[in-house]
Amino acid sequence: MSEPVVWLTIFVLSVFVGVEVISKVSSTLHTPLMSGANAIHGIILLGAILVAGHAESVWALVVGLVAVVLATVNMVGGFVVTDRMLQMFTRRKPRPAVESVETRSRQDGAPR
């Protein structure tokens, strides 16, 4: 059922897409991007669930469950920590900071 050429086609096209979509990233975002990509390969959780769900011996089940735990940590932790990083970028409040500096410097400026 799995025709290797079809899979190869999907693989090669995905390589080009993968490089293309991040080609214009600014260095500021390198860390979050790496972390986000890291979370995406946590999708191996799907594979871990499949093998654990089809395990026929206790031994296989245990190994499968370990894989499930590890993969979940990868996926969930990855997305959460990426979000935390990106929160730092958006939570800057330029408005109040700039205003207060302006008003203070105006007060300073007046008496001089």
């Binding site: 993968g18 214009k24 975002l29 790496m34 972390s35 594979g47 669930i49 735990v69």
Partner: protein, 459 residues
Amino acid sequence: MTTPVWVQLVYLGCAICFILALKGLSSPRSARAGNLVGAVGAVAACVVVFFYAGIDNLVPILVAVAVGLVVGVVGARRVQMTQMPQLVALFNGVGGGAAALVALLELGELAGVSEGGFALAATAFTIGVGAISFAGSLVTFAKLQDLMTSRPVVFPGLPVVFGAALLGALALAVATVVEPALWPGVVLAVVGLGLGVLLVLPVGGADVPIVISLLNAFTGLTVAAGGYVLDNTVLLVAGTLVGASGTFLTKLMAAAMGRSVVNILFGALKGGSTLGAGQASDRPVRSAGPEDVAILLNYAHRVIIVPGYGLAVAQAQHTLRELVDVLGDRGVAVDYAIHPVAGRMPGHMNVLLAEAQVPYEQLKEMDDINGDFKQTDVVLVVGANDVVNPAAKSTPGAPIYGMPILNADEAQQIIFLKRSMRPGFAGIENELLFDPKTTLLFGDAKDSLGKLLSSVKAL
């Protein structure tokens, strides 16, 4: 087991989510939304599998997911922002480990029925590279967490051992394909673990983040191969996307530091670039007290701050911001010069300063501010070293030679806040410390900045 069409369509949707996620993550405005889209895709793909694949052992699996969920969320929420690079390394490592385990189990199944060689080759690849990624990531974690030395670890004969292990891994992979059985796979996993350790040991501390990115790409390719083994398109697409973009990102990061990936991995093996003596120098320097430095700052027209990892370690971002605010009120023009690899990873410093609510407009990227140093009265270097080391421009033998640096040496006065004379992360001495224009203020960055702040206020 054939996958129903509707499931394949859901998988296609998930793959699109991942592409949009990566696309979103490359621009500051859409980054957070992009990450969310990726998370939705990943969760959707994992939920769907329960509805068609005839999953047994439902309860233990859900318990395992719950355990992973708690560990992942708590780890990601609790970690200090300064320790983020090693956390990403750890998450990457466990992902690689999971992929290797999945492939081992699949090998156990394939060993009975003789299937095509492609699937077996992909299985062997997943086992070997997954194990490399797992062990390598654990070593990078140990290096960044200071559980072991961050200097390159090299022993005589390491290249020989590494080469032998690599050949052994290839032989085992071939054996797995020719004569499918579980035991060569298990041995392959063990050899892969050894390879991962040997690969990362010789890498110096400053280069570790680039290796994390590389191992991240490795795990991506592992997951892609796992997708082929399990007949699952979404694994293939997601893994390949991460593998390709991760490899490209590794190149971008290395370029930002003026290094090549080959040099980072194998530079220490050539023996040429022993990364400095790593000892405190006893050459004379000029040091001063906080009051003197406060005067320099207060009567300057233009000041540029060069923040480094030491600032973050001392948790001094907030004190620094207060100092800059006070100087701003006194009419001093202050900017922050952010080196692309300030902190420990590209973009790390922006995250840390944003956490301290430093206005975004004051953060200047290297290329935008490097021309300004000539007209700058005082450069205040807080907990940084390598990113202003002129050896990167002047000493061809230095390990950081060729790395773009901030031209702090062109300013009128340079002030270093340092804990000691120990060299920076790259382990090499900084000539700028001995420059006649340079003044040192010794002490913990937070202490020193606190004293500076009160001294400036008192003026």
